[in-house]
C-alpha cells in the first residue's frame, strides 16, 4: 500500500509540476504572480476537448491546437493588460487584478458556453490501468509523464539553445540591463507569456483527459502557485521539485493522517518549510542589495 500511495503521490505531483513550470517561468523572469495561468489551463482543456469531440480531430492534432491556442491567449492577455502598465511605467502589482479577472472571466465564459456541463473525451479515451508488481498504474499517468518530460526538454532547449532563450535568461537576471544591451523587452515578455501559455495548454489538455472537462479546472493554478514558491526562486527545476513535494505531502497526509484536513496540514507544513528556508527547496541564496 505504501508503494501504491507513493505512486499516487508522484502521479499527482508530476501534474502539479507541469502546471507549475509555466507559472514559475513568468514569476522568475518577470517577478509577476500570474493567475491568468489558470485561465490558460482551462482554455487548453476545452480547446483540445472541442477539437476531439466536435471537429473529430485526432488527439495529437487537437493537443497541438490547444497548446497553440492557450499560448496565443496568454500572449493576448499580456498584450492587453500588462503592456499598458509597462508602457506607463506602472508597478506590476496592478497586473495582479487583471490576471485574477481574466481567470474569473474565462471560468465564467466556459461555464456559460458549456452550460455548466461536465464533459469527457468520447469512448473512454486512455482509461484503465496496467499492473506492475501489484501496483496499479493508470495509462494516462504514463502518457502524462512522457509528455511532461518531452515538453520540459523542449523548454530547456528553447531557453538554453536559442536566441530568444538567451534573451529571456538575460532578462531574468536583470531586466534593465538587458534592455540597455539592446534586447527588445516587449518580445522577451511576450515570449515568456507565450511559453507559459504553451505549457498551460499541455497541462490543461492532459488534466482534461486525466480527470474530466469542466469549467473550474483552472483552480489548479493555486497548486501551481504553491509548487513554484516552495520549489524556490531562480530556477525551473525548483518548480518541478515543489510540485512533486506537494503531491506526495497531500497523498501521504490523506493516507496516514486525515484526508479531511489534508490541505490545511499540507499547506502549514509548506509554510513552515518556507520559514526555515525562505529561498525555497532549490533556490539560490540572494543577499538583499542596499
Amino acid at each position: 500500500m505504501f508503494f501504491q500511495q507513493l505512486l499516487n503521490g508522484i502521479s499527482v505531483g508530476s501534474m502539479y509540476s507541469l502546471l507549475a513550470v509555466g507559472f514559475s517561468l513568468v514569476y522568475n523572469i518577470l517577478g509577476i504572480v500570474n493567475f491568468s495561468h489558470g485561465a490558460m489551463i482551462a482554455i487548453g482543456t476545452y480547446l483540445s476537448y472541442w477539437c476531439v469531440r466536435y471537429l473529430r480531430f485526432p488527439v495529437p492534432l487537437a493537443l497541438v491546437i490547444a497548446v497553440i491556442g492557450a499560448g496565443l491567449a496568454s500572449m493576448g492577455t499580456e498584450r492587453a493588460t500588462l503592456r499598458p502598465l509597462r508602457r506607463r511605467g506602472q508597478s506590476s502589482v496592478f497586473f495582479f487584478i487583471a490576471s485574477l479577472t481574466v481567470f474569473n472571466l474565462v471560468a465564467a465564459l466556459l461555464t456559460y458556453i458549456s452550460k455548466g456541463n461536465i464533459e469527457s473525451y468520447p469512448s473512454a479515451f486512455l482509461t484503465g490501468s496496467f499492473t506492475f508488481r501489484g501496483l496499479m498504474i493508470p495509462r494516462i499517468d504514463v502518457v502524462m509523464l512522457v509528455i511532461a518530460i518531452l515538453s520540459l526538454m523542449c523548454l530547456t532547449y528553447v531557453l538554453f539553445r536559442t536566441r530568444i532563450g538567451l534573451a529571456i535568461r538575460a532578462a531574468s537576471y536583470n531586466l534593465k540591463a538587458a534592455q540597455l544591451m539592446g534586447i527588445n523587452i516587449d518580445w522577451v515578455v511576450a515570449g515568456t507569456f507565450l511559453m507559459a501559455g504553451l505549457l498551460a495548454g499541455i497541462g490543461g489538455s492532459l488534466l482534461g483527459v486525466k480527470y474530466a472537462v469542466y469549467a473550474d479546472i483552472g483552480n489548479m493554478v493555486f497548486k501551481a502557485f504553491f509548487s513554484c514558491m516552495v520549489g524556490g526562486l531562480g530556477n525551473l527545476t525548483g518548480a518541478i521539485w515543489g510540485g512533486l513535494l506537494i503531491g506526495l505531502l497531500e497523498t501521504f497526509t490523506c493516507a496516514y493522517i486525515s484526508s479531511s484536513v489534508s490541505p490545511a496540514i499540507t499547506f502549514t507544513v509548506l509554510i513552515v518549510l518556507l520559514l526555515l528556508r525562505p529561498q525555497g527547496l532549490s533556490g539560490r541564496v540572494t543577499e538583499e542589495k542596499i
Binding site: V12, A108, K115, G116, I118, T127
Partner: protein, 391 residues
C-alpha cells in the same frame, strides 16, 4: 471630472434599484419566483431546474392559467452563496411580489432563507435535502419552508437498506465530502443505518472540499475489499471517484446518491464503460410513460434533450405551487402556505406519482425513490422502489 464617472454610475445604479421598487400591481399575472444557480459550477442544475419550471408554467398558462390569471415566472441566480440567495428571495418578495417562491436545491442557501421566510411570510418550496431546513430543531417546524423530496437522511438510509437487503452486502466503505452537507448528511445516515442493521462499515473516509484526485483515499479502501462502496456525491466528484476507483482495481458495487443519475456523471466517469453497474437513487421512474411525454415536450420547447433530473424538480415544484394556489383560491401567501401544508395526492412525475405533504415535518409523506443501475448501453435500469416508511 472624468473621475466622477464611477460615482455617477453608482448613483444611477442605486437610483434604478429604487425605481424598480413597487412596480407590482394588482390583477396582473400571478408571480411565482425561483431561486437557483444560473452561474458557477452547478449552473447546469439551475438552468435545468429553471427550464423545467418554465415548461410547466407555460403549460399551465396555455391551459388557462390558475384562478383565471396567467403565471409570471421569474428565476434569479444565487451563485451558490447564501447571502445572494437571501437577496434573491427578498427581491422576489419585495419587488416582484411573488406569492410563492421555488428553490433552492442547495441546503445551505435554503437554511439561510428559512428564517427570512419566517419574517416575510411568503412560503418557499424546493428540494434542499437537509432536514434542518424545514425542522431547525426536533419538534420545531419552519412555517414557511417546504421540502418536496425525501430528505438526505431518508435517502442515505434507503440506500443502506438496499445494500443490505438486495445486494446482501456485509461490508461497506463510504467516501464523503466533509465540506458538503449533502454528502456528509447522507454518508452519516448510510453508515449509521448500515451498522445498526448488521453490516460493517470497513472504511469511512472524509475528504476536504475541492479535491479532484481521490487515489490516496481509494487506495486505503482497496485492501479492505468492501462489498459496496457508497459515494454520496455531486456528479463531478462522483464520476472522478468511480473512474479512479476502477483504475485502482476496486471492484466493489458502487452506490451513489441522486446526483449520479445525470449524464454529466457518466461524462465525469469518462464514459459508460466505466460508469456501468453504478447504482443510484432517484425519485422518478424513467420508464413511466408520463415521463416519456414530459421528455418529448421538453425537447420540443427547448430544442435539446433533458440533461439532469433537476428539470423534474422545477417541473414538479411548479405543479405543487400552482395546485396550492388553486386550493387556496387566493394569491395571499399565508393562504398558499396553508394550502401547501395540506397538499394531498397531487399528481406529479416524481415518486409514485402522488404527492402528499406532512404538515408536521413539511416534508412529503412517504415519497418513494427508485434505485437504478447504469447499464452498459447507457440506459438506467430500475431495480427496486424503496419507501422511507419501510425503514
Amino acid at each position: 471630472m472624468k473621475r466622477l464617472i464611477g460615482l455617477v454610475l453608482s448613483l444611477v445604479l442605486v437610483g434604478s434599484l429604487m425605481a424598480s421598487v413597487g412596480a407590482a400591481a394588482k390583477d396582473e399575472p400571478i408571480v411565482i419566483g425561483l431561486i437557483t444557480a444560473l452561474t458557477g459550477p452547478t449552473s447546469l442544475w439551475g438552468t435545468q431546474e429553471r427550464n423545467g419550471a418554465l415548461l410547466r408554467a407555460e403549460e399551465i398558462n396555455a391551459a388557462g392559467g390558475v384562478l383565471g390569471r396567467q403565471i409570471k415566472f421569474i428565476a434569479y441566480d444565487h451563485k451558490g452563496s447564501p447571502a445572494e440567495g437571501v437577496n434573491a428571495y427578498r427581491k422576489l418578495v419585495d419587488q416582484d411580489r411573488a406569492c410563492v417562491v421555488l428553490g433552492t436545491h442547495f441546503s445551505n442557501i435554503s437554511l439561510a432563507i428559512a428564517p427570512i421566510a419566517e419574517q416575510k411570510r411568503v412560503p418557499i418550496l424546493g428540494q434542499p435535502m437537509e432536514p434542518k431546513v424545514t425542522m431547525p430543531a426536533p419538534g420545531k417546524v419552519n412555517r414557511y419552508s417546504f421540502l418536496a423530496q425525501p430528505s438526505c437522511i431518508e435517502q442515505g438510509q434507503m440506500m443502506a437498506r438496499f445494500a443490505l437487503e438486495e445486494l446482501n452486502a456485509k461490508t461497506a466503505a463510504v467516501l464523503t465530502d466533509k465540506a458538503n452537507s449533502y454528502s456528509t448528511s447522507q454518508a452519516e445516515a448510510f453508515r449509521d443505518y448500515f451498522q445498526a442493521h448488521g453490516g460493517t462499515v470497513v472504511a469511512y473516509i472524509e475528504y476536504a472540499g475541492g479535491t479532484v484526485d481521490f487515489k490516496a483515499q481509494l487506495t486505503q479502501i482497496k485492501p479492505k475489499d468492501p462489498d459496496v462502496l457508497y459515494l454520496p456525491q455531486y456528479a463531478q466528484a462522483g464520476g472522478m471517484q468511480v473512474k479512479q476507483a476502477r483504475e485502482l482495481g476496486i471492484d466493489a458495487v458502487i452506490l451513489g446518491s441522486n446526483s449520479l443519475s445525470d449524464p454529466p456523471f457518466v461524462n465525469a466517469c469518462g464514459g459508460i464503460e466505466v460508469a456501468k453497474g453504478v447504482h443510484f437513487m432517484f425519485n422518478v421512474d424513467f420508464s413511466d410513460p408520463r415521463f416519456a411525454s414530459f421528455l418529448k415536450n421538453y425537447e420540443k420547447r427547448f430544442g435539446e434533450p433533458v440533461v439532469t433530473y433537476h428539470t423534474l424538480f422545477g417541473y414538479d415544484d411548479m405543479t405543487l405551487a400552482v395546485t396550492a394556489i388553486k386550493n387556496a383560491g387566493s394569491t395571499d401567501p399565508e393562504k398558499i402556505r396553508d394550502a401547501i401544508e395540506n397538499l394531498k395526492d397531487v399528481p406529479i412525475l416524481m415518486g409514485d406519482g402522488k404527492f402528499t405533504m406532512n404538515p408536521k415535518t413539511h416534508r412529503p409523506v412517504n415519497m418513494p425513490s427508485w434505485v437504478f443501475r447504469w447499464e452498459p448501453d447507457g440506459t438506467r435500469k430500475p431495480i427496486k422502489l424503496m419507501y422511507p416508511a419501510e425503514l
